[in-house]
């Protein structure tokens, strides 16, 4: 699996062979009526990466988030000027490998339904600066906690939800670590935990995806994403 943000990994779309474009023509050329034709035209361009429907859409949604994390940590670890201690680099590398594991796992579950590698946009991050990297990391981890938990009730096959619950608590551990590393004792402060002692999560996959898309060049057709 390619995760490095190298030029050859940026998704290059061949006109006419894009997943959503192919689907578009299938719909248009089939027995589908004008209503469906128009509906397909609305909101998403033929060049958008179609993420699928129902459980596959949810899996691709989580795959997008995990790819984003994996790409981010890969770039952070590969930045020799990043001013962190040896011990911090050890932990950062560990987190990178865990996110690569999550992304690879989701890709395996998706099989032929997996979307191609996404093109991340980390222009808002200063990779030599510890504060910039850790702040972005904490934000990304919180977003992934939200992503996994928001998706859980939407899975037709609840076995997915139960398996990914094992990842959600790990993302929360990551977030706590980066928060503490930035500001000691902020691992679970009032900005992320509500008055019931619950991790404040967005409950809609769409909300989470919209937030993640701020850091991704790839455009997605997520019109069939549940929630």
């Amino acid at each position: 699996m390619k995760l490095m943000n190298a030029p050859e990994d940026i998704q290059v779309k061949e006109p006419g062979y894009d997943v959503s474009r192919r689907r578009f023509f299938q719909l248009a050329g089939g027995v589908a009526g004008a209503g469906i034709f128009l509906a397909s035209c609305k909101g998403s361009k033929p060049t958008d990466t179609y993420i699928g429907t129902e459980d596959f859409a949810l899996l691709n949604f989580l795959y997008i988030l995990q790819q984003l994390e994996a790409a981010f940590y890969t770039q952070a670890v590969a930045t020799p000027e990043l001013s962190i201690t040896k011990d911090e680099l050890l932990l950062l590398t560990d987190v990178r490998d865990q996110e690569i594991a999550h992304a690879g796992f989701l890709k395996t579950l998706l099989g032929k339904n997996a979307i191609p590698a996404i093109a991340p946009n980390f222009s808002s991050v200063t990779f030599v600066d510890r504060t910039s990297v850790y702040t972005f990391a904490a934000m990304l981890e919180d977003l992934c906690v939200s992503g996994i938990i928001s998706a859980c009730t939407y899975f037709e096959n609840q076995a997915y939800a139960l398996e990914f619950a094992k990842m959600a608590t790990v993302e929360a551990r990551h977030s706590a670590y980066f928060r503490d590393a930035l500001t000691y004792n902020s691992f679970a402060d009032g900005t992320v935990i509500d008055s019931n002692g619950l991790d404040m999560v967005a409950t809609s996959p769409r909300t989470v995806l919209a937030a993640a898309e701020n850091y991704i060049f790839t455009h997605f057709d997520s019109s069939k994403l549940p929630g």
Binding site: M1, K2, L3, M4, T74, D87, L91, D94, D97, Q98, E99, I100, A101, G104, F105, T108, L109, G111, V145, S150, C152, T153, Y154, N157, Q158, A159, Y160, A161, L162, E163, A165, K166, M167, A168, T169, V170, E171, A172, R173, H174, S175, A176, Y177, D180, Y184, N185, F187, A188, D189, I193, S195, N196, G197, L198, D199, V201, A202, T203, S204, G227
Partner: protein, 289 residues
Amino acid sequence: MNFKNILQQIEKADPEVYERLSGRRQILKSFGSKVAVAALPLAIGSMFKKAYGRTTDVVVDALNFALELEYLEFAFYHTANNTGNLIPAADQPGFLTIEAHEQAHVNFLTTTITAMGGTPFVPKHFTDSTTRGSFVPAAYDFTGGGAYNNVFNDYPTFLILAEVFEDTGVRAYGGQMSAFSGNALLVQAQQIAAVEGRHAAHIRLIRRNAGASELPAPWITNNIPPTTATQANYLGEDNTIQGVGAISIDITTITDGTGTVPKASATAAFDEPLDKATVTTLVSPFLKP
């Protein structure tokens, strides 16, 4: 919290839910955007009781088991935070935060169980004269029958038990998730479990920075315990095979650009569940008869 989404899910799982209830509009009117956060468990609980009265037993049992663990954790931190010269000043804010969360969890679970028509768990000796609110010191022996006599005198010993309680708490919630399968409470259960994960990460980082011999990361590496005596709490954490249904993969075969994912990271990436019987055995040394 987006209550409409939860309703959509219930609707999907059970198209007849509104016949069991009094109509979607009525529910939204009652529990819509203006519902107070504190009232949410009550709102959800009473709704479920009304709609699924016969099937709440499994859910209530799981919530009560979680409540049992939250009472234990709350008593542990409440005792520590009120013991002079135990927690260094720099670490006190963190442990006050953790204690407040455990108290909030006790309240949230108790309210939810009550609203579902269940009977909330209370610790043994709840009527003891030393009980103050949710603090039931008479129920617990945090020396573990003499194995940790310095638990509230020696900070490193306290940290070891805190780490074990939090990691075991995360795994215990994981083991109960299937009880909430297809249920809106799956969201809340995961929200609590995530908070326990944050606590565990914080305590582990304190121990790492203090030079604990096994050099704990904020996450669980392989099945490495803080002490050999607590190995049982970490058994199974070295699992590298993950899957759903017929599809599974050995995580250590996934490539990371320069090689494959190391086993340490492959195991850390997933918090493995523990079943109720195992957790009960693990906490039993800390419960008074």
